[in-house]
């Protein structure tokens, strides 16, 4: 097996297979269409190839990928796309139908990205607010605020306080 820039291709494939779905979901929530989401997934793993970080475990690896994917998606809109299309209008511009969505997913996708990401990481991936804060480089109280707002917008019947 040949080597990539800083990791062997074998290592890269293993990491890819472990986390591609998570990375794809993060990217999709930002990009709101398959085509751009795939581009961002590729960019995330290309960034992984160039990065020298030695991961302590799979969770560390996953957290790094989530943070990198989030930052790359934000950068995508920050650089040039944001001049014509805001991050929340991207889905309307896209001609491609993203997924066979139900009403729940449509509501989630309609959330602003910061709430959406926090909701995904908390309810789906099972991270605590502290962990989400570390991944996204935000204060845990800020994350709790995002979750509170996101839950309110989704009218979720969830338990009260966040951890």
């Amino acid at each position: 097996m040949q080597s990539s820039l800083f990791r062997t291709d074998e290592e890269l494939v293993r990491i890819y297979n472990r986390h591609v779905n998570t990375v794809y979901r993060i990217c999709f929530m930002f990009m709101k269409n398959r085509h751009n989401a795939e581009d961002m997934v590729q960019n995330t793993f290309v960034r992984l190839m160039k990065d020298k970080t030695v991961f302590q475990n799979e969770e560390h690896e996953k957290a790094w990928l989530i943070r990198t994917a989030t930052n790359l998606c934000k950068d995508y809109f920050r650089h040039w796309w944001s001049k014509t299309v805001s991050i929340n209008e991207a889905a309307e511009i896209s001609v491609e139908n993203p997924l066979n969505t139900d009403s729940v997913l449509e509501k989630v996708m309609a959330l602003p990205s910061k709430y959406k990401t926090a909701v995904y990481l908390y309810y789906y991936e099972g991270y605590s607010t502290v962990e989400i804060g570390e991944i996204l480089k935000k204060d845990p109280s800020t994350i709790r605020g995002y979750l509170h707002k996101g839950r309110k917008l989704l009218k979720m019947e969830m338990e009260g306080d966040f951890e």
Partner: protein, 208 residues
């Protein structure tokens, strides 16, 4: 909305198998392509700073030499000794040979050129050897120490003397050379007088 509904909805967001394979292929292709590019750029990226450094150093040396006034493309500086003399370090200084000192006067063994120039014969005629002056006691040339020094009668003084070394007489002249030149003029004068005298004798002989 319940938590379970949310999980089910998020489960729907996932790439198809073909999309996964396509993305992975693209990533690995990028890896290969990037390696090729990086290999090509490697020398270039290294070469540019090295080349810049060389230019800076060369420029600095050039500017330094220009400011110092030492810059000369090919010719050596004036009054400098070149070629083989470049080895002429202090410890390569030529030893002083064929010189000695008697009573505060410095003498030098005359070379063939000097002998010719000053009108001296190639070899010393033993009949012209006068009295012994001294033994050489002071000389940088160790081989001369102990040699006997005799006066040379035709010179009429001690400016030119004969040094006996290895049972052979050699001319030696005192320094400064002015004395030698004086001796030479004196010898020439003596020769002229001798010729004049001889001419007179011949003319007298014929007249008789």
């Amino acid at each position: 909305m319940k938590k379970e509904d949310l999980k089910v909805s998020f489960d729907k967001i996932k790439p198809s198998e073909s999309a996964k394979k396509r993305m992975l292929d693209n990533i690995l292709n990028y890896s290969e392509r990037k390696k090729g590019i990086s290999m090509k750029l490697f020398n270039y990226k290294k070469a540019v700073p090295v080349l810049a450094l060389v230019i800076v150093v060369a420029g600095s040396l050039f500017a330094y030499n220009m400011l110092k006034g030492n810059f000369n493309s090919s010719l050596p500086p004036e009054n400098s000794v070149t070629d083989d003399a470049g080895f002429g370090r202090e410890d390569f200084a030529a030893p002083l040979l064929n010189q000695f000192q008697i009573d505060g006067r410095h003498y030098i063994i005359l070379s063939d050129e000097l002998k010719t120039e000053f009108g001296l014969p190639d070899s010393v005629n033993e009949n012209d050897i006068g009295s012994k002056i001294a033994d050489i006691a002071l000389s940088p040339d160790k081989s001369l120490i102990g040699s006997e020094v005799y006066s040379y009668i035709p010179a009429g003084g001690e400016s030119v003397v004969a040094v006996k070394k290895d049972n052979e007489y050699r001319f030696s002249g005192s320094l400064p050379l002015k004395a030698i030149i004086t001796t030479r003029m004196k010898m020439q004068s003596n020769t002229l007088s001798f010729m004049e005298l001889k001419k007179r004798m011949i003319s007298r002989k014929f007249s008789l």
